[in-house]
Amino acid sequence: MSDEEHHFESKADAGASKTYPQQAGTIRKNGHIVIKGRPCKVVEVSTSKTGKHGHAKCHFVAIDIFNGKKLEDIVPSSHNCDVPHVNRTDYQLIDISEDGFVSLLTENGNTKDDLRLPTDDNLLTQIKDGFGEGKDLVVTVMTAMGEEQICALKDIGPK
């Protein structure tokens, strides 16, 4: 492969390529896909044909990575689907504000204060408890198609 093949354009600007076209047949379980404009994680793929001697199509069952809803889509295997650009970044959790925002420390030393806490009770409890016990927490923030949310917690303090 030539050098050009290795060169990926850095798409760091917000809103630049939020999705990428990819042949439906190459999307596997645990990959990502856009269905009805929502970024989703694929949990099931099955193939069938359009008529006995027709072409293959893929049936995707996927879960919206932000709101947890189940979505489905059927696409001819040779057609392109949109795959969302899902970015995951780690931040150290500095503070949780009264009005439901978190204060995060970025790699270059700045703070990021515009991320809301999840509204779900279960998730909220896990974060608040962890933070409340004075642990050193690192949160992973997942960003895709203009939305962002905390998707993982890690205790990095001494045991």
Binding site: M1, E5, H6, F8, E9, S10, K11, S17, T19, Y20, Q23, A24, G25, T26, R28, N30, H32, K41, V43, S46, T47, S48, K49, T50, G51, K52, H53, G54, H55, A56, C58, I63, D64, I65, N67, G68, K69, K70, P76, S77, S78, H79, V83, P84, H85, V86, N87, R88, P118, L123, Q126, I127, T140, I150, C151, A152, L153, K154, D155, I156
Partner: protein, 862 residues
């Protein structure tokens, strides 16, 4: 007192009477009744208005069950059920008009029972005492009726004809399946004719069903399920066809060419779907007739095909050759784009590829010396000689020195077509990758020719240097990489073979080295196109790693070595992308597995060091990490991903273990050798915190973990002693868990529950063996005046100054608790006893104390 009967007819008359009286038992059951009822205890007989003679007669059947008796008896049985199945057309019509099918089905079952204990000759002869035609003819006519009725049934339900067909096909199979020598398997001439008629009808009806099915709703069942579900039926068809090969092979050839002509005539005007489906059926049937599956072995050309056509000594005139060639020539047309578009639908192509895979495994460049030249002498010399020539013609027509290479080339080009010109057709491409191409590299003599073909070189080149094959789904790329790497065994020498592999994998390693050294990697890595490329390349590496062989291991070692650091970089970058992480881990597992036995000491140290860094890195990313999601489904998926990763890590440690067991390296210097045991324990120590009790509920993970643990304890008990207190406590804690824990199973069926419990027992067994090893080690060491498990066994003071009991006393109590008070399978008694003995020997005082305690408790109760 019963009188002895005067003739055998009376004996059998008793049997026939039972059946004729219609006792609502099948003929087969009647036979069993006779076998079961001993003399004198036959109340049932005695109470019927039948003389006691018949009762005794029944007993005599059992006692005097010799050949002639058997024949008589079977004849009587047959005559008892004959009206239920004869004449077949009348019976079929009656059932269609509403009569119950139960008698007819019982009659079929009776035929099946008879067929299982008779030779074809015997079977056929039976009916001849009652009618002008033999039993095989009746079976043939009956089968034809049933098959016709089945096609006529347009409902979805399984009716009587479905059941009857299966029973009758089983009957044919019982008669025709080649048995161990000693039984005469030959058919009488009318039998051969009967088989030909049946096969003709079967194929006619299959074709009718095929063309009718195109109007069905979408084919929901996936391709693999449909062929394997049909496999038993198709195997029966093949046996029937091979019984009348003179007729059936030309029949298939004719039907095939008729359909081809239809297709060509109708091109562009008529809808070909019906004919395509007929061709699909024909290919499946022909594939089964011409070749066998040959599980794990290279299947021979079926004997029936070799032995007949004795007068045909020129290959191109041999009917099997004619049929094979016409199909291959047809398949070749798929390479032409226009033909492909109008005729070769994905489904038809699937049948073509399946056929080529099955056919090639038998006919393509077979080992010509397989059939030894039997020494022939005597008056049959001439005909036997012609027979030998005929066999040779068949075996050799696609041999290395004839058309073999040409056909190989055609097959490779057809394969390439399916991979490039059928975008998105995953099932088709799966067949090509997993079934067809793997056959081509299975044998060395094929590989030798493969690597000289331009078409194969084109495929390898497209794989290594072009983008076209990147659109295949990643697992197929893995398989392709493995196949291409495997073909290196066809190269002339080791250096050429290694170079072949290097040329193949060069692009993979170059890409990964390059991408991992990019400055802006963090930004670009999470873009979908980057993830796709990285995933494809990792899968390709995996495939190449799996093809490691003694000849090419060096090139594959270099491949892995060159990407060690890049992989660690990628593991860091992609720590949140579980799919990529898993691929990295699996690659390393596969690579180590193929390499470890060959590595010299220095390289072993390098590999081991790399693996430990990998484990450390993975652990640091994942320890204490909790996924958060609104979706319980996604949380479950995350858990499954963790579990799969851990299994991979345990596999890696297990593969490293094997270095101590299988070592092909030439080093003799012990001092440089890596202490594998130490490495494994370190690895376990790293991995352990990631394995929660919750995850240990996954049966496979449990099994892998305890298999490794018990292996380590059994082989390296001295290392256990050297572990620090924390690590030791942790490992032994899991051992205790493994012995006592009976998972609560939520499984779908009783069979699965049973399987789960067996798996559970196996795990406990392994833990008991580990315990045995540990305790035995300590006992023997102490006996020799040494430390053994040292402070672990003696007990130590913990941080608060309290004395923690030693591990052996703890386990003695724990094991006694299990054996006396808990539920366990009897399968465990032996290994539990083995473990108990050394524990008792080590802790005699404690053992006595425990039992004195039990006794005094019992005394209190009494």
């Amino acid at each position: 007192m019963a009188q002895e009967p005067t003739s055998s007819e009376q004996i059998c008359g008793a049997a026939a009477w039972i059946i004729r009286e219609g006792m609502k038992i099948t003929a087969h059951s009647a036979l069993c009744v006779f076998k079961r009822q001993p003399r004198g205890e036959n109340e049932w007989f005695m109470n019927r208005p039948v003389s006691k003679t018949h009762g005794a007669a029944a007993w005599i059947i059992v006692e005097l069950y010799n050949g002639q008796m058997q024949e008589h008896h079977l004849l009587q049985m047959l005559s008892g059920i004959i009206q239920w199945i004869n004449p077949p057309d009348a019976v079929s019509t009656a059932i269609e008009c509403g009569k119950s099918e139960s008698e007819m089905l019982d009659g079929c079952r009776a035929l099946l029972s008879i067929a299982t204990i008779t030779t074809p000759m015997m079977f056929d002869k039976l009916l001849k005492s009652l009618s002008p035609f033999g039993t095989l003819s009746l079976l043939s006519t009956l089968t034809c009726e049933v098959v016709k009725a089945r096609v006529a049934n347009t409902t979805e339900e399984e009716t009587w004809s479905y059941v009857a067909r299966d029973i009758l096909l089983d009957t044919w199979t019982a008669l025709l399946v080649p048995t161990v020598s000693g039984r005469n398997d030959a058919l009488p001439p009318e039998g051969i004719h009967a088989a030909a008629i049946v096969f003709n009808m079967i194929v006619e009806c299959e074709l009718k069903a095929a063309s009718a099915s195109v109007f069905d709703d979408e084919d929901n069942s996936d391709y693999q399920a449909s062929i394997s579900a049909m496999d038993q039926r198709l195997s029966s068809y093949a046996l029937i066809a091979r019984a009348a090969i003179d007729v059936t092979v030309p029949l298939l050839t004719r039907l095939f060419s008729e359909r081809l002509a239809l297709l060509h005539q109708g091109r562009g005007t008529t809808n070909p779907t019906g004919t395509l489906e007929e061709l699909y059926s024909l290919l499946l049937i022909t594939g089964h007739v011409l070749a066998d599956e040959g599980e794990g072995e290279t299947p021979l050309i079926p004997e029936a095909l070799q032995a007949h056509f004795v007068d045909i000594v020129e290959a191109e005139k041999h009917p099997v050759v004619v049929l094979s060639c016409s199909i291959i020539r047809f398949a070749e047309q798929s390479i032409d784009p226009e033909m492909r578009a109008s005729i070769f639908s994905p489904r038809l192509m699937e049948a073509v590829i399946w056929f080529l895979a099955r056919w090639s495994n038998t006919y393509l460049m077979p080992f010509e010396s397989r059939r030894g030249n039997n020494c022939i002498s005597g008056p049959d010399h001439e005909s036997q000689h012609r027979s030998q020539l005929s066999r040779k013609a068949l075996i050799g027509f696609c041999g290395e020195h004839n058309q073999g290479k040409l056909v190989l080339d055609i097959i490779v080009r057809i394969s390439m077509t399916t991979l490039i010109s059928y975008p998105g057709e995953k099932d088709l491409q799966a067949l090509t990758c997993y079934q067809l191409l793997t056959v081509l590299v299975r044998r060395r003599n094929l590989c030798v020719h493969l690597v000289t073909l331009d078409s194969w070189r084109n495929l390898a080149n497209a794989f290594a240097n072009e983008r076209s094959l990147f659109s295949l789904t990643a697992p197929h790329q893995r398989s392709l990489a493995e196949t291409l790497a495997r073909s290196a065994i066809g190269m002339g020498n080791t250096e050429a073979a290694n170079q072949h592999v290097r040329d193949l994998v060069g692009h993979m390693t170059a890409y990964l080295v390059d991408i991992s050294s990019k400055d802006d990697l963090t930004t670009v890595a999470q873009q979908p196109d980057a993830i796709l490329s990285v995933s494809c390349l990792l899968e390709r590496l995996r495939g190449a790693a799996r093809a490691s062989q003694p000849r090419t291991w060096k090139a594959i070692y270099e491949m892995g070595f060159s990407v060690m650091n890049p992989l660690l970089t990628l593991l860091e970058i992609y720590k949140h992308e579980s799919a990529v992480v898993y691929l990295i881990l699996k690659f390393v597992v596969n690579w180590v597995d193929g390499q470890i036995s060959f590595l010299e000491a220095k390289d072993t140290a390098v590999v081991v060091n790399f693996c430990m860094r990998l484990l450390q890195l993975y652990s640091s990313h994942n320890i204490g990490k909790i996924s958060l999601s609104l979706s319980s489904r996604l949380l479950n998926e995350a858990k499954t991903e963790k579990y799969k990763d851990l299994r991979a890590l345990l596999q890696l440690l297990t593969n490293l273990c094997s270095k101590d067991l299988v070592d092909f390296s030439s080093d003799s210097c012990e001092a440089e050798n890596t202490d594998i045991a130490q490495v494994i324990y370190l690895g376990l120590h790293i991995v352990m915190p990631l394995i929660s009790v919750d995850l240990l509920k996954y049966p496979k993970l449990r099994h892998d973990y305890f298999a490794l643990l018990s292996h380590m304890f059994e082989v390296y008990p001295e290392k256990v002693a050297q572990l620090n207190a924390e690590a030791f406590a942790h490992l032994l804690g899991t051992l205790d868990y493994g012995i006592h824990h009976q998972a609560s199973w939520q499984v779908a069926s009783k069979d699965m529950l049973h399987a789960a419990k067996i798996a559970d027992t196996e795990v406990v067994n392994m833990c008991l063996r580990a315990l045995n090893a540990l305790a035995s080690y300590h006992y023997k060491e102490r006996g020799a005046g040494k430390e053994g498990l040292g402070s672990h066994a003696a007990g130590l003071k913990d941080l608060n100054g309290n004395l923690q009991e030693g591990v052996l006393s703890r386990f003695l109590k724990s094991l006694l608790q299990l054996l006396l008070f808990e539920d366990y399978s009897t399968e465990l008694v032996s290994s539990a006893a083995d473990a108990l003995l050394p524990l008792i020997l080590c802790e005699q005082g404690l053992y006595q104390a425990i039992f004195l305690n039990y006794c005094s408790e019992l005394d209190k109760l009494i």
